[in-house]
Amino acid sequence: MNAQAKETTLRFYKERLLCVLVHIQEHLDEPLPLELLGRLACLSPHHFHHVFTGMLGESLGCHVRRLRLERAAWRLKLSQTPVVQIAFEAGYETHEAFSRAFRKAFGLSPVQFRRRNGVSSRIQIPSGVHYQDRRRLRDFRAAQIEDKSMNVTIKILKPMRVAFMRHVGPYNQVGKTWEQFTMLLGKDGRLGAGPQFIGICHDDPAVTPPDKIRYDACITVDQNFRACGEIGLQRIPGGPYAVLTHFGPYEKLGGSYAKLLGQWLPRSGRRLRATPCLEIYLNSPENTEPEDLITDIHAPLET
């Protein structure tokens, strides 16, 4: 991949996120649903959040909260509006909650901040994106690849025929679905050294309400397998995938997704395909300590 193509890709993703960042700044008082922001970025919701977190160095939720706090600081300084009112406008229901968050961010209470001159109303962030009062945001610094040893490979997967069980609900309960699913397949002699265990997360636990998260537990099966009862059959699309191996507990997968989609991808010269990412589990949590778990994260790429 030549340098120019990589530059074009970085610009492509930056422009997409810039549309979103501008929209957020202009609609700070409104709900900012993921679907809408993803649409603005022309990315599917399940990819959007990771690209955002990786490129900006903070999650969407943190970003919005930070901008609201910066705006509050700005208003404290330049207006006479009562603190309670400013707290309310920043999305806090109580003065106490606002004060706590404000002190954490600026090291001063809102009242102290208002009295003191020369304190910046900005919270330091590598992306350089701050609350803009009337000016339009024009650019931001995309996060660099912080882990130089990050090893991403491109793999061409063949389409996979998988049996699956859909889990709808909190992500921390997908284990129950796996227990049920592996029991049903295992008693029929469909488990062993060959079948692969794959997870498809259609939603992001960081931004989707827990009871609405959809996750498919998948196991590869042969041509003779037929869907039955709770167990469905689907075909996972083949083609190129960017693969990053995540070592360690499943709780920390989010960080690896953000590195792959938000740091590696924009600088790779490649673009995402609008199908979900895959998690291929290479060992079993049943007989492996969480820190020794190995998961290959697969992000689908355009050819």
Binding site: G61, Y171, V174, K187, D188, G189, G192, P249, G254, N287
Partner: protein, 218 residues
């Protein structure tokens, strides 16, 4: 996929159920320090399959497939019948060498691959699982899987970190240690594979080496 933000409210997939884990139950038999130690092992039941050939070769791979097929089918059949659950243990292997292994002809190496299995698993459980797997069209190796009890008694044991080829250095330490304790290494060399060689780089592979012993004649 999990977010870092939600970790307080979310637990891992790993902690969903507490099930019988033989390695934890018999913790004292799985000590793995970086120095040799003596462990006293009780007779233990294993699913096992014996063979000959180079590690990683076609026969070896087919035997691993058969062994895991049997292990999972037995476990899940019992679980489905409401007879309780347990964790399938790690892969283990015994290696049968006369003296030093001949690294120039790995095809001649003889081994037995094993998975430790709870005592309540019966020959009948194995028979049922084999029938299920044959019905699924699994390869004939599945019929070679046996359920057997292995008694190793007092063993010298330690953790080997690094490629399998360098085990001889660790074994030399174990031999010296045995001698210092009035023992002699005997019986087949036993390995418990804690890491997956397909994914973990050779220098980080962790393997418990176990060597049964006999009293040294004075």
């Amino acid at each position: 996929m999990k977010s870092q933000e939600n970790t307080q409210t979310q637990t891992s997939i790993t902690t969903m159920t507490t099930k019988l884990d033989l390695y934890k139950l018999h913790k004292a038999e799985y000590l793995a320090p970086r120095e040799p130690v003596l462990v006293r092992t009780k007779p233990a039941q294993y699913l096992a399959i014996a063979g000959q050939g180079a590690p990683g070769g076609p026969r070896f791979t087919a035997c691993i497939g058969a062994l895991y097929g049997a292990a999972f089918t037995i476990k899940m059949t019992r679980k489905f019948a409401g007879k309780g659950d347990y964790a399938v243990c790690k892969l283990e292997g015994q290696w049968f060498f006369d003296g030093q292994p001949d690294t120039t002809s790995k095809e001649a190496w003889k081994w037995e691959l094993m998975i430790r299995t709870p005592d309540f698993i019966s020959q009948n459980d194995l028979k049922t699982a084999v029938a299920t797997l044959l019905k699924r069209g699994k390869s004939r190796e599945i019929e070679e899987v046996t359920l057997e009890t292995i008694a190793e008694g007092v063993c010298v044991q330690m953790l080997h970190v690094g490629p399998y080829e360098k085990e001889c250095e660790t074994i030399a330490l174990m031999r010296t240690f045995a001698q210092a304790n009035g023992l002699k290494l005997s019986g087949p060399h036993h390995e418990i594979y804690l890491s997956d060689p397909r994914r973990v780089p050779p220098d980080r592979l962790k393997t418990i080496l176990r060597q049964p012993t006999v009293k040294q004649k004075s």
